[in-house]
């Protein structure tokens, strides 16, 4: 398998830039996930790697070779599309062997490759069916099979699970993880579903408005986001954000008053990036990090809804015009109108007024 690199890659449609300079390295056998909201450019970036969209500026290298102007079929990539893109008039067997046929491979070689891919994906009994005779999950497996038979250097997946129902999506997610382990493949995977990104990726690339917001392992992004966008995007339920104002700056600490909670104060230890006194900041805290009242800075919130999921409970609560989600391990919260929680300062993250993380 082969590595891939993007250096200052840009894409514009006329005067309108959609990819604003992406630098990225994908190591051999790495499972990289591009994630971001709709319109952030993740699919465009994948299509540029595939050769389906031209690169306006910058360099794309696959296996150390410049690929900017190379035909898609000669880049050593295979792509799995969101809509499966199976040829409707061909059987599963013909769909999977189509690329090899056009590459001039002998018939017995094509049959061998197709049968091998069918074995891996358990498609054997379906080989003579037409795509219209398959379920969504089966079609997706055929689309993956079509990619596998080409033995590409890099697999590209463009939101491959989006058209599947929730249960099948979980099943296929596990299948993909197994496949990655079995094939030892380099995979670039696009999704807007951060759960898919967290569960599948070795490395996540969070994109926003055509730019890379942050690159890191799933847990790095979860625990140590660089900015407010990544903090809010990664994690389900989302991170809670509380508005604050810096009321005092000491040696390696900043005292923050939570402006919507009666000026409740907490002191946050920080490193080099200290805010200025009077600066507006945002305090981020994940739902599971709230402590029981009395253990630090306490807030009392009005309970709106409690979701009992069996193993855990999510409490949706309001306070000072801010809606917060609190995770509790109790199976039953009981009938309660208010909840008192504490914010452990070591778990809380601080962001400046531009949304940049203060560490």
């Amino acid at each position: 398998m082969t590595s891939l690199s993007l250096k200052g890659v840009r894409k514009s449609y006329g005067q309108h830039p959609v990819i604003k300079g992406v630098d990225l390295t994908v190591d051999s056998r790495e499972f990289v996930v591009f994630v971001g909201p709709s319109g952030c450019g993740k699919s465009t970036l994948l299509r540029m790697i595939a050769g389906l969209e031209s690169i306006t500026a910058g360099e794309l290298e696959i296996g150390g070779k410049r690929m900017n102007d190379v035909d898609p079929s000669k880049r050593g990539i295979a792509m799995v599309f969101q809509s499966y893109a199976l040829y409707p008039h061909m059987s599963v067997r013909d769909n999977m062997g189509f690329a090899l046929r056009f590459a001039g491979k002998p018939k017995d070689e094509i049959a061998r490759q197709v049968n091998e891919a069918a074995r891996i994906l358990e498609l054997g009994p379906l080989l003579d069916r037409l795509p219209a005779q398959l379920s969504g999950g089966q079609r997706q497996r055929v689309a993956i099979g079509r990619a596998i038979v080409r033995h590409p250097d890099v697999f590209l997946f463009d939101e491959p699970l989006s058209n599947l129902d929730a249960e099948l999506r979980v099943h296929m997610r596990i299948e993909l993880a197994r496949l990655h382990r079995e094939l030892q493949a380099t995979i670039i995977y696009v999704t807007h579903d951060q759960v898919e990104a967290m569960t599948l990726a070795d490395k996540i690339v969070v994109l926003r408005e055509g730019e890379v917001s942050q690159v890191g392992t799933p847990l790095q992004l979860y625990d140590d986001p660089d900015n407010l966008f990544v903090a809010g995007f990664i994690g389900s339920p989302k991170m809670n954000f509380l508005s604050g104002e810096v009321v005092d700056v000491g040696a390696g600490t900043a005292s923050i008053a939570l402006v919507n909670h009666g000026g409740v104060r907490l002191t946050k230890p920080l490193g080099a990036s200290l805010p200025k006194k009077g600066e507006r900041v945002t305090l981020g805290i994940r739902p599971e990090h709230f402590g029981v009242a009395g253990a630090g800075t306490d807030l009392t919130l009005a309970v709106d809804v409690a979701e009992h999921l069996g193993s855990t409970t999510y409490v949706y609560a309001n306070g000072g015009g801010e809606r917060l989600i609190i995770q509790r391990e109790e199976r039953h919260m009981g009938d309660t109108d208010t909840i008192a929680v504490s914010i452990p300062t070591e778990a809380a993250l601080l962001f400046d007024s531009a949304g940049k993380r203060l560490r």
């Binding site: 792509m79 969101q82 893109a85 199976l86 040829y87 008039h89």
Partner: protein, 270 residues
């Protein structure tokens, strides 16, 4: 009686009238082909026993195999060329982005509004200058880039999944291979519907062949039927028999491709 029942009854009456109006001319034509001319003029609507006699008369007046051969050749070649040229154009208009694409397409649609009568004379002058007068090429050539069929294919191509083209590009197909091996088989309902439309138009074409085909050897069935009606005492039995024979191929094509025709008109990509 409920309002729904009255409504449904009204629909049935309307559909029955519409069916009668559609089917009766065919019935009259078919029955007329079996009757003598005086019976037809008198308005006889039952089957007659004059079919073989009408057929013999038709065969003595017209070289049927040649005339049918001419019509078939023109209709089949026209259909093939029109489908290839117009579907390529429709595919191109929809698949390739260009700043002037819509302008050119609008111009083409504007040309649809020019009646053929206005084009007839300049077209004849062009054909004559190209020394194609009295040839099948003269009949076929002006019709193969049909704006209506280009428009029809462009609209149908909007339903063609772009990801199929992308997948084919990744699979190593050139554009012409994508058109041939992916687009054409996927759009077969559209092709079937277009086949019926183009074949019928070419088969029934009268005015342009009348202008450019002069010798009897080159005449098509529609031209021959018109010469039968021009006789001093027209034999309506013979004329209607010729009309039945002329209608048969288009009916056969329609019934063979009927299912795909409906799908194609609905814009379905299966």
């Amino acid at each position: 009686m409920s309002l729904a029942l009255v409504r449904r009854g009204g629909v049935y009456v309307f559909l029955s009238i519409a069916t009668f109006l559609s089917v009766f001319p065919f019935y009259w034509m078919a029955v007329g082909a079996t009757n003598q001319s005086p019976d037809i003029v008198r308005g006889k609507l039952g089957l007659g026993s004059n079919l073989l006699v009408n057929f013999q008369h038709l065969m003595t007046q017209v070289d049927l195999p040649r005339v049918f051969g001419n019509s078939f050749f023109i209709a089949v070649v026209s259909t093939l060329l029109t489908l290839i040229v117009s579907s390529l154009a429709g595919y191109g208009f929809e698949m390739f982005r260009s700043r002037i694409r819509e302008r050119i397409f609008q111009l083409l649609l504007l040309l649809l509004s020019i009646p053929f009568a206005a084009l007839m004379v300049p077209l004849f002058v062009m054909i004559s200058r190209a020394q194609l007068n009295n040839t099948f090429t003269a009949v076929i050539l002006p019709g193969i880039a049909s704006i209506f069929i280009v428009f029809y294919f462009r609209q149908a191509t909007k339903a063609f999944p772009r990801e199929l083209r992308d997948a084919a590009r990744v699979d190593g197909l050139k554009e012409w291979q994508i058109f041939l091996f992916v687009y054409m088989p996927t759009m077969r309902s559209t092709y079937a519907a277009a086949t019926i439309i183009v074949f019928m138009n070419a088969w029934n074409n009268y005015l342009w062949p009348l202008i450019v085909l002069q010798t009897p050897d080159n005449k098509t069935i529609t031209l021959v039927i018109s010469t039968l009606t021009a006789a001093y005492t027209p034999d309506y039995g013979v004329i209607l028999l010729a009309t039945v024979l002329a209608t048969a191929p288009t009916l056969v094509i329609f019934f063979v491709l009927q299912r795909q025709f409906v799908q194609g008109m609905l814009g379905a990509v299966k």
